[in-house]
């Protein structure tokens, strides 16, 4: 046991370091809507959730790390170690009434380690993207005050916030598990605006760093062995921010010069609302299971507004199904997991009386790998739309591919062979 722990720790460090490094500056989106607030919520989730419509609050942690509900960490089983790593890529098409263009973005989508402590409890650490920013707005025209002219600016944003999460789950009764999570939210968002007025130019570079912590709590309750109910709450919190600002200017065709360089300018806190999520998991047959989930994020109560948009309460509906032919089948494809799902999100932003809603269809397969039980490569694909093309808004259709390696029990398999 002692040996395992130290090995695990070492491995955890090795695996998390690249994750933390990466998480600092990567965006997995090209959405212009990421201009608002702290960016758009990342839709990359761990493991198989992404192919089940992004839901799964009632899914047991039996074979994978279910980061949606900390209570699932109680169900890893005995002497289990899980490692989950994924990459995701997004190809999107962004259009308004007159133009459209293709964008591509991608990065590591998650890194997680978890293991059982006792047969009734589990612990894990994960780093997952929280929000993503990746926009570039070229040729933004604004009026010059005191003149009839306009000036043109290019506005760019990039960066991401990440969620470094410690999770603990415990089974308190035979059919009730509870769990808690402590998140450290951190990251930086860089915004760059370039202005050109004839022979002069101005570049304002703002590096906004946000940090905060958030607590989560979850319950899973098995009505009977085929039906599980899950509930998870994330408590409201705020992120405090600091900004480094650099202003560079080109004055009448001279070389660019620094006119302002200020560090650690305090930013007003960004409030995160309470999030209430619930779902059911139903095992219709041995080889067919369904999940239905519903979530609420009460952004309206944060009373926050952005430049143009305002924050409104957000409702998310998700459903998914998983099917396989025969878990003990000799033919490899008999053991493949086929998954499909749907997600509808009313969005948290209202721009000119239109909320930026999105929906996506998901599909995926899980390929069992390795000699042990429960290791999978999960490939999921999502196709969706965000926003609408009406008015001055932008419609974005995106295709996301997510590849996850969900590895279980690897440690002990090796030792047994030795």
């Amino acid at each position: 046991m002692q040996y395992m722990k130290s090995k695990t720790l070492k491995l955890a460090l090795i695996l998390l370091i690249p994750g933390i490094t990466l998480a600092q500056g990567n965006g997995t989106t090209g959405s212009p809507y990421s201009l608002f607030g702290l960016g758009i919520e990342s839709n990359a989730s761990i493991g198989k959730n992404s192919s089940l419509g992004g839901g799964g609050y009632a899914l047991s942690g039996n074979n994978f790390i279910n980061n949606l509900n900390p209570a699932s960490y109680a169900n890893f089983g005995t002497n289990t170690f899980l490692y989950d790593v994924g990459v995701s890529a997004e190809i999107s098409n962004i259009a308004n009434r007159s133009a459209d263009e293709r964008r591509f973005a991608g990065s590591i989508s998650n890194l997680a380690l978890a293991g059982s402590i006792t047969p009734k409890s589990g612990f894990g650490i994960a780093i997952i993207p929280f929000t993503d920013v990746g926009y570039s707005l070229l040729g933004v025209e604004s009026n010059i005050e005191g003149a009839t002219d306009t000036f043109v600016s290019n506005i760019f944003g990039s960066g991401s916030l990440n969620d470094l999460k410690l999770v603990y789950g415990h089974r308190i009764l035979k059919n009730i598990s509870i769990g808690g999570s402590l998140s450290y939210l951190f990251g930086s968002i860089e915004e760059r605006e370039q202005i050109n007025t004839g022979s002069s130019g101005l570049t304002v570079l703002e590096d906004n760093r946000y940090t905060g912590t958030r607590l989560g709590f979850g319950v899973q309750y098995d009505f009977y062995n085929k039906l599980t109910f899950g509930f998870a709450i994330n408590f409201p919190t705020f992120l405090s921010g600091k900004q480094d600002r650099t202003v560079q200017r080109t004055l009448e065709n001279t070389l660019p010069g620094l006119v302002d360089n200020e560090k650690d300018i305090p930013l007003s806190n960004f409030k995160l609302p309470i999030e209430l999520n619930q779902g059911i998991f139903f095992k219709a047959k041995e080889n067919l299971s369904l999940n239905i989930d519903y979530g609420i994020k009460l952004w309206g109560s944060t009373n926050q507004t952005d430049n143009i948009g305002k924050y409104i309460d957000q409702y998310i509906f998700a459903a998914g199904a998983e099917y396989y032919i025969d878990d003990r089948g000799i033919k490899p494809w008999h053991r493949l997991r086929f998954r499909a799902g749907f997600n509808y999100d009313t969005g948290y932003l209202e721009i000119r009386d239109t909320n930026i809603e999105s929906y996506q269809f998901t599909a995926g397969i899980g390929i069992p790998i390795g000699p042990g039980r429960g290791s999978n490569i999960n490939i999921s694909f999502a196709r969706g739309n965000r926003g609408s093309i009406g008015g001055l808004l932008v419609e974005e259709s995106f295709n996301t591919i997510n590849i996850n390696f969900s590895l279980k029990d690897i440690w002990f398999v090796k030792r047994k062979i030795n």
Partner: protein, 447 residues
């Protein structure tokens, strides 16, 4: 297996990084629902204070141009230019049997004129009684040398600065003979010997002329060993030959200014008693435009120049928020009746910096690197009217950022300032026709 995991992580890292290259899209949709976070303002309510001052002296000996003439200027009074120069030959070699036929002073036009060239002007050629040798390093526009009040020769002529190459003035042969013979007989062998006979000439316009000022040039071309003279004192002579006499000539020339101080122009103006410019006696004296008909005065040669100050520029700080200027443009306009074909506006203005006493700090303006840069005011012709526009962003930025206030000012002056009489009048900040204006573009990046 552990190794495999590490390899795996590294692999992912590389994949993630290569994705990152494509991370910033370059799309042109989505900009309609955003505004710039930067406010840009245009402000043109700052006071532009114009004051005329006068340079005590201008080096007028470092030029190839001879200026002669006199005219009455509507603004700067009676403007008079006199030219003083020494004449020396290229060498002291003449054939022993050369016989002097005639002597003439040839003045080559250099296309410069100011005033009415259709009127007949008078030039008197006088012998100098002082050697052309400055007390200090140079001669100035205020300098003069003694000369014989009786002209050696004089000419009434209609200037043709473009249609003719040169002006020919006959000199009495009696004047030329001793010089010619002295050189032929090897009694005059060098410049000092020559100065025993002759210091040089001054060209004096008639005291009553109100015509024009004309430019002649000393040299056309100066090579390492040869000087192609444009203006010279020419001795025409013949040498007897077996069948036919050979005609030739021998020149005394004005050595180029690059080879020493061998001449200068005296440039002066006589103001009427009512002129407000009479207030200027010392270089630090100022004549604000509001005290002189809302006009500022610039003239090459006579030494008038314009000092431009922006006394209210720091009111920019009263605007809320943190910002920086993106450009500053000064617009100035000469009154339309101040120039015409006879008194043309020639090209751009020079810009410089002067201190509190109107001593020149710089000609040109400081750029961002701290170097002085030649900078000209752009001249725009709109509706056949002249408007000067000058970018003064770097200067204004310096003024806004200085911790202790330096009482310097922009200096505006004409080109060819030491060898012409070009004159530009500019309208001041309260002028009814066009107010001198400073237009600032200011960007606020923090509200």
């Amino acid at each position: 297996m552990k190794k495999l995991l590490i390899v795996f992580s590294v692999g992912l890292f590389i994949v993630a990084c290569s994705f990152d290259i494509e991370n910033i899209p370059t799309l042109e949709v989505g900009q309609e629902f955003v505004n710039s976070e930067v406010r840009v303002l245009v402000l043109d309510t700052f006071t532009v204070k114009l004051s005329t001052f006068r340079f005590d002296s201008i080096n007028s000996s470092s030029t190839e141009r001879l200026l002669v003439g006199q005219y009455n200027d509507q603004f700067t009074g009676k403007v008079r230019t006199e030219s003083y120069f020494e004449l020396t030959p290229r060498d002291y070699e003449l054939p022993n049997d050369a016989e002097l036929d005639s002597v003439a002073l040839i003045l080559g036009y250099d296309n410069y004129f100011y005033g009415d060239t259709t009127l007949i002007s008078k030039i008197g050629v006088h012998q100098l009684e002082d050697r052309v040798n400055p007390d200090e390093d140079f001669f100035y526009n205020t300098s003069r040398l003694n000369f014989d009040p009786e002209p050696l020769a004089s000419i009434n002529y209609r200037p043709e600065p473009f249609d003719e190459d040169s002006l020919h003035i006959s000199i009495p042969i009696e004047f030329g003979r001793p010089i010619f013979e002295g050189i032929r007989e090897n009694e005059i062998n060098n410049d000092d010997d020559l100065r025993e006979f002759f210091y040089g000439f001054t060209l004096q316009p008639d005291a009553n002329d109100n015509t024009s000022i004309i430019g002649f040039s000393r040299t056309q071309e100066e090579g390492a060993f040869t000087i192609e003279a444009s203006s010279y004192l020419r001795f025409f002579y013949t040498t007897p030959q077996e069948f036919e006499d050979e005609e030739d000539f021998y020149d005394l020339i004005i050595q180029p200014s690059t080879r020493g101080v061998t001449g200068f122009n005296h440039i002066s103006n006589t103001l009427s008693e009512e002129s407000s410019l009479t207030a200027l006696t010392k270089q630090e004296d100022l004549l604000p435009s509001i005290a002189s008909g809302d006009l500022g005065y610039i003239q090459s040669g006579t030494g008038y120049a314009l000092r431009v100050e922006f006394p209210t520029i720091r009111r920019l700080f009263e605007i809320e928020g943190t910002g920086t200027i993106l450009s500053a443009e000064l617009q100035l306009k000469p009154p339309t009746d101040s120039y015409n074909d006879s008194f043309p506006i020639r090209g751009n203005l020079n810009v410089g910096l002067v201190d509190n006493n109107n001593e020149t700090i710089l000609t040109g303006l400081l750029n961002d690197d701290g170097n002085a840069e030649e900078q000209l005011i752009g001249q725009q012709e709109e509706f056949s009217e002249v408007l000067y526009e000058i970018s003064v962003g770097t200067y204004i930025d310096t003024k806004l950022n200085e911790t202790t206030i330096v009482k310097d000012a922009l200096l505006l002056f004409t080109q060819q300032y030491n060898n012409s009489v070009d004159r530009v009048i500019l309208q001041g900040e309260e002028n009814m026709d066009f107010e001198a204006t400073l237009t600032l573009t200011y960007a606020i990046y923090e509200e």
